[in-house]
């Protein structure tokens, strides 16, 4: 290891007191058998920060009632907390108006909302949709459904051997005058950080809108949707140290105003008669039914906690830990890392393959060392096809990840190599 910074050095450089941060995550003190948990699966779902757990608990114990319904005290408190959560998410994402935030179940639902509501009204036979090879299934399948329903065509932008988008293919796709470009901010497999602001400008020059999947990026870096110049941005709570069952769509208010509703029901209407209904204004227009109130509050509490830590130091820590992981993985014979090579701005996740050992088996043996990683296709099968593999093992990091956990990962991989005689 020699040349690589120790835990305390890395934490100092990043401005994060990682040992103190870890005390805010109860799960991290778990033992897996006789080994301490090394949780390297935050890209799938991050652990819950105490601030979020406690905010949900307080709400459930003292303030719960339905929102936007009653005139009683509890309903007022629940409504204030829920709308306060919306304001927090809006602030965290750099939205100019909190009405630009629509609460949904997860980033998947946010993208489905856009594909169904905006796509259904604006995409027709012969229109084109641009996707990239590195998209998660959640940013592929809703567009395939839209294409199948309308007769639109999908154009794919490929990736090069370093996991970066192929610029010529993006330009060629934009030359065909697409209606929308849907792209991930940070690849959930490769760790590729796409130049979203630049691509947004290119898309707009070509007359297209741009949707960005921010599920992986929001927990790792400051996101400013206004500064990025995008049209839609999809995020989820549970990858950002908050609860499952809550996410948000940020969209330009004028777009939300023009779009037809997504799901029908209570809350999304202005008036209903036997003859029909009229819609509420955004964001209520897109929030049919009783929302996930406690979860929205929990998501907002996690984001406030992140903002208190500071997204600058969070990103610096992600970069430090990724650099350390890439350096250590490079020492393992027969191990191949997918995605961009080590660089100061590289962030996780890190996907890899160990020669002669299936990723499932790597993950199973790592679990015996207390190391949690994901093995599989990561809901990105077109990318797996591009890489020529069925699956990879993936280590993904968070604010609480230590170099000691990366060392446990390496020890576990060495054990797998010993067991398999690789």
């Amino acid at each position: 290891m020699g040349t690589v910074a120790s835990d305390s050095t890395a934490a100092r450089a990043a401005g994060l007191d990682v040992e103190r941060i870890r005390k805010s995550f109860p799960t991290l003190s778990r033992m897996i058998g006789s080994e301490p948990l090394a949780y390297l699966d935050s890209g799938a779902s991050a652990q819950r920060v105490l601030a979020s757990i406690e905010a949900v608990d307080r709400y459930e114990r003292r303030h719960h009632a339905n929102v936007h319904r009653g005139s009683h005290t509890l309903s007022g408190e629940a409504t204030d907390a829920y709308e306060g959560a919306r304001a927090t998410v809006a602030d965290h994402l750099g939205a100019v108006d909190r009405r630009e935030i629509v609460f949904v179940r997860n980033a998947t639902e946010a993208i489905n909302l856009v594909a169904r509501a905006w796509g259904g009204a604006n995409v027709a036979a012969g229109d084109r949709i641009v996707l990239t090879e590195m998209e998660h299934h959640s940013n592929i399948v809703p567009w395939q459904q839209l294409a199948a329903a309308t007769g639109a065509t999908i154009d794919w932008v490929g990736t090069d051997d370093d996991g970066e988008l192929i610029r010529d293919q993006l330009e060629a796709a934009l030359d065909r005058g697409p209606k929308i470009v849907a792209i991930t901010h940070l690849s959930n497999v490769l760790g590729t950080l796409n130049p979203v602001a630049e691509i947004a400008a290119m898309a707009h020059d070509a007359g297209a809108l741009i949707l960005v999947d921010g599920a992986q990026s929001m927990p790792k870096m400051a996101v400013d949707v206004t500064g990025l110049g995008v049209d839609f941005y999809a995020v989820t709570g549970h990858k950002a140290y908050g609860p499952t069952g809550i996410g948000a769509l940020w969209a330009r208010l004028d777009l939300l105003g023009e779009m037809p509703p997504f799901l029908g029901g209570g809350s999304m209407i202005r008036k209903v008669t036997k003859e029909g209904f009229t819609c509420a204004d955004p964001p209520a227009k897109f929030e049919a039914g009783t929302p996930a109130i406690a979860q929205a509050i929990g998501m907002a509490a996690a984001l406030r906690w992140l903002d208190m830590i500071g997204m600058g130091p969070v990103l610096a820590h992600e970069r430090e830990i990724t650099a350390y992981a890439l350096a250590r993985l490079a020492e393992v014979p027969g191990l191949r890392v997918y995605g961009p090579p080590a660089a100061p701005e590289r962030v996780g996740p890190v996907s890899f393959e160990v020669d002669g050992i299936h990723p499932h088996d790597v993950a199973e043996i790592l679990d015996r060392h207390g190391v949690a990683v994901r093995a599989g296709h990561h809901c990105a099968q077109p990318l797996m096809q591009r890489l020529g593999v069925a699956a990879t093992a993936r280590a993904s990091f968070g604010v609480y990840t230590t170099t000691a956990e990366i060392d446990a990962l390496i020890a576990g991989i060495e054990d797998a190599r010993r067991i398999f005689g690789a």
């Binding site: 299936h358 069925a390 699956a391 067991i419």
Partner: protein, 141 residues
Amino acid sequence: MDELYRDQILEHYKRPHNFGRLDEYDLEFEDTNPFCGDEQHVFIKLDDEGRVSAVSFEGQGCAISTAATSLLTDELVGMTREELLRLPKEKVLDLLGIEISATRMKCAMLGLKVVKSASLGEPADWEDEGEAGDPAEAGSI
């Protein structure tokens, strides 16, 4: 020392029996483990009496799925399609001779599922162990 990755499993993983594609076959089926994207393709040749005379498989998978199908295909010669369809999951578990966790059950059973689907000529009706859900489990954590 390592129960799951004992020598027999690793041996079948590294040098699977009946691996490859039969030149001539009467039944075949390909399926994937949706959890991880692993694929297996099974080929079965029947004799005049409708009994399995040769069987092979190809695909990519983990040690558990590859060893399970390697071990299973060693057992199938002489069976009728009906007998293939009646093969219980326990048969595969007995052949593996190791404890299989709920998360790896799909891996262990992929080959059996594909063999049954090949016999039927369509995807076999299937419920994996551990998917049915046990209310006691939900209450215990």
